[in-house]
Assembly symmetry: C2
Homo-oligomer: 330 residues x 2
């Protein structure tokens, strides 16, 4: 790229919203927007929505279409970065969608595709809590639990893609069923969905009055956020559920630390907003589980919040554009 005349865009394509940013060649974000995904409209419609956000950020930044050099896109599901095909993205209702080809035809510029958790890892690495980390594990605790690995200063994809799936490491054999088909996955024990499910079970068993109150008195209103709110207000049962989730998260994180000896673990995602007590409990559990030299790894909260994904998409577009021959070869 040549100086300030060329730009890149990043798109975080989620199941409920599309977040898009336009940045200069140095990575500075000049415009950013967010629109509902309207995934039910199908692939064509979602692609039109993405193109619409690109127009919005270009207009806002006063950048012409021909000045856009590359596009990075994060998609919630396993995909092949080389071919640009999304194998499956349940939250979008996608199956084997060649989204890179589609977007390249529509935009006329190179499009780089990556898993959303991997891009969030890149975003935190480039402009968040992971700046300067040589080896970083990013974990997002949300509806599900995802992760991405930065090893030796680069996104690590593994041989077949899909690396970093800490949510589907098993920490309790014969534990509760996970949506992936296994049992006792970290996601089945510590995700927002898991916390809410445990709370519903409690309430349906005649307990959890504080949780029910925090959920507006309706069982259907019980979410991880409601449980977290009750816990933060001192409700014993809610605290128990949150600490139980923190414990399994701690086991999973300690396992990753023992395996990878990273300098840093960065924790993001909505459930991490539960409060200081939750973060502290996770750290306490991690400390119990790490041994040897790897115990020096630090665990810190994410710094870019909900923007990690879109920032990672920008970073992907910037770096991929600079080494596009390598990436295309792959």
């Amino acid at each position: 790229m040549t100086g300030g005349e060329r730009y890149v865009a990043g798109v975080d394509l989620g199941g409920t919203k599309i977040r898009t940013a336009l940045a200069g060649a140095g990575g500075q974000v000049l415009a950013e927007t967010e629109v509902p995904t309207e995934a039910a409209g199908g692939v064509r419609h979602v692609v039109e929505r993405v193109l619409y956000t690109l127009e919005l950020v270009q207009r806002e930044a006063g950048v012409e279409r021909r000045q856009l050099a590359a596009l990075g896109v994060g998609v919630p599901g396993p995909l092949d970065p080389a071919s640009g095909v999304v194998y499956t993205a349940p939250n979008l209702g996608w199956q084997d969608v060649p989204v890179r080809t589609i977007l390249e035809e529509k935009t006329g510029i190179p499009v780089y595709l990556e898993n959303d958790a991997d891009l969030a890892a890149l975003g935190e690495y480039a402009w968040g809590a992971g700046r300067g980390a040589e080896n970083m594990v990013y974990v997002t605790v949300s509806t599900g639990i995802g992760g991405g690995l930065i090893l030796n200063g680069r996104l690590y994809r593994g041989s077949f893609g899909g690396a970093g799936e800490i949510g589907h490491t098993v920490v309790l054999p014969d534990g509760p069923p996970c949506r992936c088909g296994k049992r006792g996955c970290t996601e089945a024990l510590a995700s927002g969905t898991a916390i809410a499910r445990r709370a519903v079970e409690l309430v349906e068993g005649g307990f959890g009055r504080g949780i029910l109150a925090a959920a507006g008195g309706r069982v259907e209103g019980i979410t991880a956020a409601a449980v977290a709110a009750a816990a933060a207000a001192g409700d014993g049962e809610a605290l128990f559920l949150m600490k139980e989730a923190a414990r399994y998260l701690g086991v999973a994180l300690a396992n990753v630390i023992v395996l990878l000896s990273p300098s840093l673990v960065v924790l993001g995602g909505g459930v991490m907003q539960a409060g200081e007590f939750f973060y502290e409990e996770i750290c306490r559990q991690v400390r119990r589980g790490v041994i040897g030299p790897a115990a020096r790894a630090r665990v810190v909260p994410a710094a870019t919040g909900g923007r990690a994904g879109v920032l990672g998409a920008v970073y992907l577009a910037l770096t991929a554009e600079n080494e596009c021959i390598n990436r295309r070869r792959k």
Copy 2:
């Protein structure tokens, strides 16, 4: 190095024996020897033993001392490859031993130090089952359970060293105590020591007659090898214990595969000699635990047997010598 005139040596310094090999610049092993470590004699004595093996292989290969360009050494414990200090090696009775400095003073050549499991991973990668693998996980199931990671074609050490410690990933919270101080580590459930311990408990409870017979009728004779022999002969209780160990190994291996999406997992160590049924059971458990694109990883037995460590030490010396400036910088 310059052609066939210079040589390297590799030393696998174990708690019970020292295995040393001398190789040409192309990696071809010209001489190899093994002597008891006599660890009880202390650091000085063990160093003398190492020097003695070097003399043996030099003599056998007809190589002069001045032709030896570098020495790779594997030590059973966490260490700092940069400073060359072994933090702790319980099997040698060592604590904070600057073994690199000692050996460099004695030999006058560069010495490169690495954890023994990491070197075994390198050995399998260079000349064993892992040839050509881009991302490989090596696991040794023996008295303990160790591991090493080859990521993007290079030994991955992590930020603080000690990466690859799959034996101390927890697969059963609140499980049996591990020698590391935690509970439910893979090593506490599936190592040779763990299998023997479970068998002793069974026999002391009045069960396990087939196992006791395989151990020569003496409780003190019960080892993982005895349990494996009884299992191979069709003893139901022994089979149960071996399959239980295989199950936890399978959970741990699947967790690593889900995290790292390697192309290959290589299984070595004495317990893997238990027989085809044990290996098959591990593979069955791994298949149950892998999901997504990472499920394409293959699991294979090690190919260099007990020589993985010494071959890795040779490989370390060869490659480190070729890029010694980089390594020294680290």
